[in-house]
């Protein structure tokens, strides 16, 4: 996993623009605690989103060992679903994976 494009604290995010590339774009949410990450997983699954808990990419943070990943195209839906479920997150990052 490489190509970290955005890193903002306090739950805000910044989308980056660029030329279309043959790579998959993910949003990675970070949390203070693992239990917070699992709370988010439960909320997003209930909201019908396709997500996955992953070990936190080392380049991002060591706040907590578990992060949550979804397609970058779902980042707005996910952020809104977390807000509705009152789940706080530390930050969200755009990551591009080489195909």
């Amino acid at each position: 996993m490489n190509g970290i494009r955005a890193r903002l604290r306090s739950g805000r995010r910044k989308a980056t623009t660029g030329a279309a590339s043959p790579r998959v774009e993910y949003a990675v949410f970070l949390f203070e605690s693992t239990q917070g990450a699992i709370k988010a997983e439960r909320a997003l699954l209930r909201a019908g989103l396709s997500i996955k808990l992953i070990p936190t990419p080392r380049q991002l943070s060591s706040d907590c060992g578990t992060a949550l990943r979804c397609d970058w195209s779902d980042v707005d839906r996910a952020t809104e679903a977390l807000r509705l479920a009152r789940v706080s997150f530390a930050s969200v990052h755009q990551i591009k994976d080489q195909l």
């Binding site: 203070e32 605690s33 693992t34 239990q35 917070g36 990450a37 699992i38 709370k39 997983e41 439960r42 808990l53 992953i54 070990p55 936190t56 060591s62 706040d63 907590c64 060992g65 578990t66 992060a67 009152r86």
Partner: protein, 391 residues
């Protein structure tokens, strides 16, 4: 001889099958350490822990499951709350019906300069809220009381106390060891700021489980952690994290126990507190009436099943409680707890110190047949005691 287990006020047994299954499933198929590592089995362990928190949040009407701290029992939760909040010079109010889980930490804190007022209860274990109100002072930092007595089952008016403490801005700590899973507990409606509960009694979970609900009016910065250490989060820092639940949950979690607790809470939620209470109340009434019908037996407490949990204390005239308990076990397979039940102050209040009582603690899994057999056994022992006395 088939055992009749009536020691549920100490720890409930048997447990529903799904509790045992959940413990076994964790031990056999999950096994990871919740919050440590990011691999799939550690995450699965974390999910099980979270699901237990969420079930507890539903049961106690806690807005955020992450504000429920999982501990090894109610005693650990009460100690966290008391030692975390109280400083020398602070005033704290409690009642004379408390268990030593509350009384011993308070007496220790008193020796270190905390000011303690113990509000007396009536001989049947009731608290008059106006007595508690009269004990409040401008420097009162905390009110702590049990939801129901572990000796006579008398339920204290927690909602009334909560209204009072909330109106005065005083935090309220409730020891729900005897009621969590048996009575309705709504931390918001009852204005409970700190709720200490155990997992192995009416919540039907394994021993070694329990927790502390940290209410929204409690500032974690002012509730000092009793235990500090590894949390799996903020690993680069040598200072304890401030966020919940990690601030109060250092060290590896009791995964199998918490899995079982989650299954116990789900059993309670599915069956419903109303149904559990109705069943226990019917058995309690049967037990009280049966015991009161034996002439040499004195039953303590309110005598009214609707005013208490399924815990009933009694004595047989002329016999020590320990002797009665031993004969009940040896001759009838009835298992109960004699003595002072770790609550000397409560026994002083009801007039049974230092003699103690025989305590029958029922659970939702007991039956009317078991209660009937226990009453018959007491009757048999009491008749023998009277005949001996007659000679």
């Amino acid at each position: 001889m088939r055992k009749i287990y009536l020691d549920n006020a100490a720890t409930s047994w048997p447990k529903p099958g799904q509790v045992t299954d959940a413990v076994l499933h964790f031990m056999r198929d999950v096994g990871g350490s919740a919050g440590r590592s990011g691999h799939s089995l550690a995450v699965e362990a974390g999910r099980i822990v979270y699901d237990t928190r969420e079930a507890l949040a539903t049961l106690f009407n806690v807005p955020d499951p992450l504000s429920i701290i999982l501990t090894s029992n109610a005693t650990a939760a009460i100690n966290q709350a008391l030692f975390g909040l109280l400083q020398p010079g602070d005033h704290v109010v409690t009642t004379s019906m408390e268990h030593n889980a509350v009384m011993r930490p308070l007496r220790y804190l008193e020796s270190k300069g905390v000011l303690l007022t113990v509000v007396p209860c009536s001989p049947d274990g009731r608290l008059d809220v106006t007595d508690l109100e009269a004990a409040l002072r401008p420097d009162t930092r905390l009110v702590v009381l049990n939801h129901a007595s572990n000796v006579v089952g008398t339920v204290l008016p927690v909602a009334d106390v909560g209204r009072l403490t909330a109106s005065r801005g005083i935090p309220l700590l409730v020891d729900a060891a005897q009621t969590a899973g048996a009575r309705t507990i709504d931390v918001q409606e009852m204005h409970i700021d700190l709720l200490a509960f155990t997992g192995h009694k009416a919540l039907l979970g394994p021993q070694g489980t329990g927790g502390l609900v940290i209410g929204t009016r409690i500032d974690p910065a002012r509730l000092v952690p009793l235990i500090r250490g590894g949390t799996g989060s903020r690993s680069e820092f040598e200072e304890q994290p401030e966020f919940l639940p990690d601030r109060y949950e250092s060290g590896t979690a009791n995964g199998p126990g918490i899995a079982g607790l989650g299954a116990g809470v789900k059993y309670v939620l599915e069956r419903g507190i109303a149904d559990i209470r109705e069943h226990e109340s019917r058995l309690t009434e049967q037990l009280i009436q049966g015991l009161q019908g034996i002439s040499a037996v004195r039953v303590y407490g309110s005598g009214d099943a609707s005013q208490q949990t399924a815990t009933v204390s009694f004595n047989i005239h002329g016999l020590e409680s320990s002797e009665v308990a031993q004969r009940l076990d040896d001759e009838f397979g009835v298992l109960c707890r004699p003595g002072l039940h770790c609550a000397p102050s409560a026994h002083r209040t009801i007039g049974t110190f230092p003699r103690g009582t025989v305590r029958f603690g029922l659970s939702v899994l007991n039956t009317a047949e078991e209660v009937e057999a226990a009453i018959r056994a007491v009757k048999h022992i009491a008749r023998g005691a009277r005949q001996q006395e007659g000679h």
